[in-house]
């Protein structure tokens, strides 16, 4: 105990003397934890899961949808509601909520009793009051929307037309679980047509649930479902922790470099400690204890900083997530474990330097003789072996989609990559040995100070690898990306019943209506042959489910692809030449399909994603061209659709609600979407990675150059020009950046094999030239420029004694 106290005292005094060094490492740890806290909080808030809609809501049992029958004719959903409502009324704690359709003004009406407690998580009255007869209480999103349409803000007391009639705005509320919900609360009697009924219950075991379950619907029972409030989605938190781990690995290896410098600067004192009888383990524990203290301080500072930043980001997160995010809304269960993680990172960072300190002889330490860097052969051999084994596992496992082998491959390549760092710095020393003086000095110095430069290379390669991988993957994705439809084409789908059953006649009528909205447009039908053996009837006119071809996946079930008849019009629109007489099926892209070997397949290039991916030229077993339905049509204009035409199509497609018709009697109009922001994603990923990578390099160069004072004196004395020092700084930084970039590129490309070799992925490898340029050229160049600018060139006076 006394010895530990003495050691602790020594650690504190060491910290006071080497406060800059400690500050650097503590800042690193704090920075890592800040990033981790912000990542965890952000991802937990922006998780786009169904649960967020009920965040904070009670357990509830759901209801049913309307089939268009809003009256009590004894058979439809109207009749069902008439049976359910009195049952619910017997339980005061239960609530019945009716959701109406969205009108042309874009506001959906809801009949809900605001006084009841269970549904209150959806209701937060901001201004005015809840509605009385002839009134509506608008959500903030609805008020904004109507305000935009009217050209003036909508406030309580105004009269607006929603749900087909003018109503007085009684108040404005917010739905904390869905800020974008454009809704209005109206009295039950004034709702009009409704789409969906929900029954809210305090728990799934409530007796009402049993009663509802007993109600028969179309020969079955009322479908019930349970929604309960959940915390952040585990997948997102897992992702957050994965990113945190990457960040902390980087921090850990950099902290290790910092502790190495600390140990070297204080090697004499540590030697004295050993000389007066301290056991090697005790000498090493000085650094480990330092690591612990640094971890605790860095972790707590990082936690506080992360929470402050998260609170500041709350408004932005709220906009991003679409639900209310309070500044105090912190997932403590996921955030607090980051502090011990910080301590573990710092202690792990101190472990290797501590081990080296334990091994240094007391005599050498007292004489201030530097401990020589160990050989690189072992780590290099281990690194190469791990990378090779990981690559092998990937090559074998990826084509079979074997998760065990793929994960083993990822771990092998990643760990092997880190172990390559000392070898890379040694290689730099070798290569630099035959270069000009600044290169020779800089790169040999990196090789000599391997314990810290290799850490920096490892940290920078980790920082670069992840964004390089994301960016390269996105580059591949972008190179094979297809639009949903070309700009001059719109896909007209539907309408369908609420259950998704197509309404064939309505679809045809709606398509003609839509075609008339665009001058010069023509319609190209997508005829779907129906499966002979299917027993699933659809549509009021009957018929059978469209014939589907199954895809093949190496693991898990494939999915069914609706197949269209390859009519000349459809082929012409898709730009496909008429098939040869012996072709049975035309398949777009590299889809793997479960087809009999006798079926002749013609492959064509990737097609827009909303185009049919499988076209039948001849009949196949199990389907007939005699029974063909047309559910979808392409509207083909002779010009790219203008914004006005798109709006018009969407308006005509949606149409005004007709109380006599099912409210969902609308066509979906799919027009060409803007391509995903591939370039933005790639540049952001690379920029973030480069910043982190360069930060790691900067820390390493700072650590190395801080030790280079005496060498600077020698250089000055032998007549080196002022720019020589700058050159050495620049070349050091460039060398570190280059080594890190090479390792990051090598390992990431090997890791991406796991994706590219996966037979279920439908995109090919594209050489990520821009990414390679950034990681292998730009990052070293920027590092060199920073090294040049930051290197101190003032004359260093020689040290006489």
């Amino acid at each position: 105990m006394t010895a530990t106290a003495a050691l602790l005292r020594w650690v504190v005094r060491l910290a006071r003397r080497e406060w800059r060094q400690h500050l650097l490492v503590t800042t690193l740890v704090a920075f890592g934890i800040t990033g981790a806290v912000v990542t965890v909080v952000t991802l937990s808030h922006t998780a786009d899961t169904p649960e967020r809609l009920t965040a904070g809501a009670p357990t509830m049992v759901g209801g049913f949808a309307s089939d268009g029958d809003t009256g009590d004719n004894g058979t439809g959903s109207g009749a069902l509601l008439a049976r359910v409502e009195p049952v619910v009324a017997r339980y005061p704690e239960a609530e019945l909520v009716l959701f109406g359709p969205a009108g042309p003004e874009g506001v959906a009406l809801i009949a809900q009793d605001p006084a009841k407690p269970l549904g209150q998580t959806w209701l937060d009255l901001g201004a005015g009051s809840w509605p009385a007869a002839g009134e509506v209480t608008l959500s903030t999103a609805a008020a904004d929307r109507l305000g935009r349409q009217a050209g003036a803000a909508v406030v309580p007391g105004d009269t607006v037309t929603v749900g087909g009639r003018p109503r007085v705005v009684s108040g404005v509320y917010e739905n904390p679980t869905d800020l974008e919900a454009s809704t209005g609360i109206v009295p039950r009697a004034e709702l009009g047509p409704w789409q969906e009924v929900r029954v809210l219950l305090p728990s799934i075991g409530h007796p009402l649930a049993a009663e509802l379950s007993a109600i028969e619907v179309d020969g079955g029972v009322l479908p019930l479902y349970e929604q309960r409030p959940m915390g952040p989605d585990r997948g997102d938190v897992l992702l957050a922790y994965l990113l945190t781990t990457v960040l902390l690995i980087q921090v850990g290896v950099l902290a290790s470099a910092g502790f190495t410098v600390l140990a070297e600067r204080r090697s004499r004192q540590l030697g004295l400690l050993a000389a007066i009888g301290a056991a090697p383990a005790r000498v090493g524990s000085v650094l480990r204890l330092t690591g612990f203290v640094v971890g605790v301080i860095g972790g707590l500072v990082g936690l506080v900083a992360g929470l402050v930043i998260s609170a500041a980001l709350a408004p932005s997160l709220q906009r991003l997530s679409g639900h209310r995010v309070a500044a105090t809304d912190v997932p403590w269960g996921y955030v607090l474990p980051l502090v011990p993680l910080a301590v573990a990172t710092a202690v792990a960072g101190a472990w290797w330097p501590a081990r080296r300190v334990q091994q240094i002889s007391a005599l050498d330490a007292i004489a201030a003789r530097r401990a020589r860097s160990g050989g690189v052969a072992r780590s290099l051999a281990a690194g190469v072996a791990l990378v090779a084994a990981g690559t092998g596992a990937m090559i074998v496992g990826a084509p079979k989609n074997d998760p065990l082998l793929v994960v083993a491959g990822v771990v092998g390549v990643a760990a092997g990559g880190l172990l390559l760092a000392p070898g890379a710095t040694a290689l730099l020393g070798r290569v630099g040995g035959s270069g000009p003086v600044p290169v020779r000095l800089a790169w040999r110095d990196l090789a000599r100070n391997r314990s810290r430069s290799a850490s920096a290379v490892a940290a920078a390669s980790v920082a670069l690898a992840l964004p390089f991988g994301i960016s390269s993957f996105v580059a591949s994705l972008g190179s094979t990306w297809q639009p949903n439809v070309p700009p001059q084409v719109a896909l007209l789908a539907g309408p369908t019943t609420r259950q998704g059953m197509p309404l064939v006649d309505e679809a045809e009528a709606k398509a003609s209506e839509l075609a008339a909205a665009v001058p010069g447009a023509r319609l190209v039908a997508v005829p779907l042959p129906v499966a002979r053996d299917s027993t699933i009837a659809f549509g009021p006119e009957g018929g059978f489910y469209p014939f589907q071809v199954q895809t093949v996946r190496s693991s898990g079930p494939g999915w069914g692809l609706s197949t269209a008849v390859a009519t000349p019009e459809l082929l012409a629109m898709m730009g496909i030449d008429p098939p040869a007489p012996d072709v049975d099926v035309i398949v777009a892209g590299s889809l793997r399909l479960a087809l009999a070997p006798s079926v002749t397949v013609q492959r064509v290039g990737p097609q827009p994603s909303s185009f049919p991916q499988v076209l039948l030229v001849h009949e196949l077993p199990g389907m007939s061209f005699d029974d063909v339905v047309v559910l979808d049509r392409f509207l083909v204009a002779d010009h790219p659709l203008t914004a006005e035409e798109r709006d018009r199509l969407e308006l005509v497609g949606g149409g005004p609600p007709d109380p006599t018709k099912p409210s969902f009697n609308r066509s979906r109009v799919i027009v060409s979407e803007s391509p995903p922001p591939f370039v933005a994603i790639r540049s952001s990923a690379l920029a973030i990675g480069s910043i982190f990578g360069l930060a790691a390099v900067a820390v390493a160069v700072a650590l190395i150059r801080v030790e280079a004072g005496p060498e600077g004196a020698v250089l000055t004395a032998v007549g080196a020009r002022p720019r020589t020092s700058r050159l050495i700084g620049a070349v050091s930084a460039a060398g570190l950046g280059l080594a890190a970039g090479c390792i990051a590129v090598l390992c990431t490309l090997l890791l991406l094999m796991g994706v590219y070799l996966n037979p279920d992925e439908e995109f090919d490898f594209a050489v990520p030239w821009a990414e390679l340029g950034v990681v292998l050229l730009l990052v070293p160049l920027v590092a060199a420029a920073a090294g040049w600018l930051l290197t101190n060139t003032r004359t260093v006076r020689p040290l006489g004694r």
Partner: protein, 242 residues
């Protein structure tokens, strides 16, 4: 000594700080060193020996007075010109931290030449010759960590001598060495001077100072055994740089 004058210090003063706390490290020191001359500078700690050496080498600027190296007035030189002067005409030897640990002995010796643009092969030949001259030709490819303290100092001397017509400025070059190695270093310096170099060596050891042609004593920033500068100095100062 009647060779060309390598170094002139003309009434050089150097003070640090201001007001009542001003420290006068050097007070009106004058000194001239000619080619082939070996000058030892002795004096107690704080007498200004090292300050004099750094000013002589252009690493520090005097508060007043003039410094000429090979007739070139140091005060008027830019940092780049000063660096060129050090590469071509000056050689430094310190008590420690003499060599760059990342370079071999030969690379350390040829460093000033390479920095001066001499081709690597030619620089290497000259470096090897200098290493031979200090008896370390066989250690040319060794890194400093592999050399003893004495050997490191002799490599530093070889580096100081590698430039043509060098003026060697050595600050306690034997301070960290045993007597045998100390003698070897002084012998190397003596031999260098015999070959035409000039050397100014700061030392505490009177026995080692015996290797010098002249011993200059400093105390409280003043030269106490030499009150007049060399007779050649006034001529040199009036004729300007060569």
């Amino acid at each position: 000594m009647t060779g060309p004058v390598r170094l002139v210090l003309d009434r050089v003063s150097r003070s640090f700080g201001a007001g009542p706390t001003t420290v006068h490290a050097l007070r009106e020191v004058s000194l001239a060193v000619t080619a082939g001359e070996f000058v030892a500078v002795m004096g107690p700690s704080g007498s200004g020996k090292s300050t004099m050496l750094t000013i002589a080498g252009g690493l520090d600027r005097p508060t007043s007075g003039r410094v000429l190296v090979d007739g070139i007035e140091v005060a008027g030189l830019s940092r780049t010109e000063l660096a060129a002067l050090r590469r071509g005409r000056l050689g430094y030897v310190f008590q420690s931290f003499n060599l760059l640990p990342a370079l071999t002995a030969a690379e350390n010796v040829r460093l000033p030449l390479e920095l001066d643009g001499v081709r690597r092969r030619a620089a290497h030949t000259r470096a090897l010759a200098q290493l031979e001259a200090v008896g370390l030709g066989h250690r040319a490819d060794h890194f400093p960590d592999d050399l003893s303290g004495g050997e490191q100092q002799r490599v530093a001397i070889a580096r100081a001598l590698v430039a043509e017509g060098a003026l060697i400025l050595a600050d306690e070059p034997t301070g960290a060495l045993d007597s045998v190695n100390g003698e070897a270093v002084m012998r190397s310096l003596r031999q260098a001077c015999d070959r035409g170099a000039a050397a100014v060596v700061v030392t505490h050891d009177a026995q080692l100072a015996a290797w010098a042609d002249r011993v200059v004593f400093l105390r409280d920033g003043r030269v106490v055994d030499q009150t007049d500068i060399s007779p050649v100095v006034p001529d040199l100062l009036t004729s300007g740089p060569r």
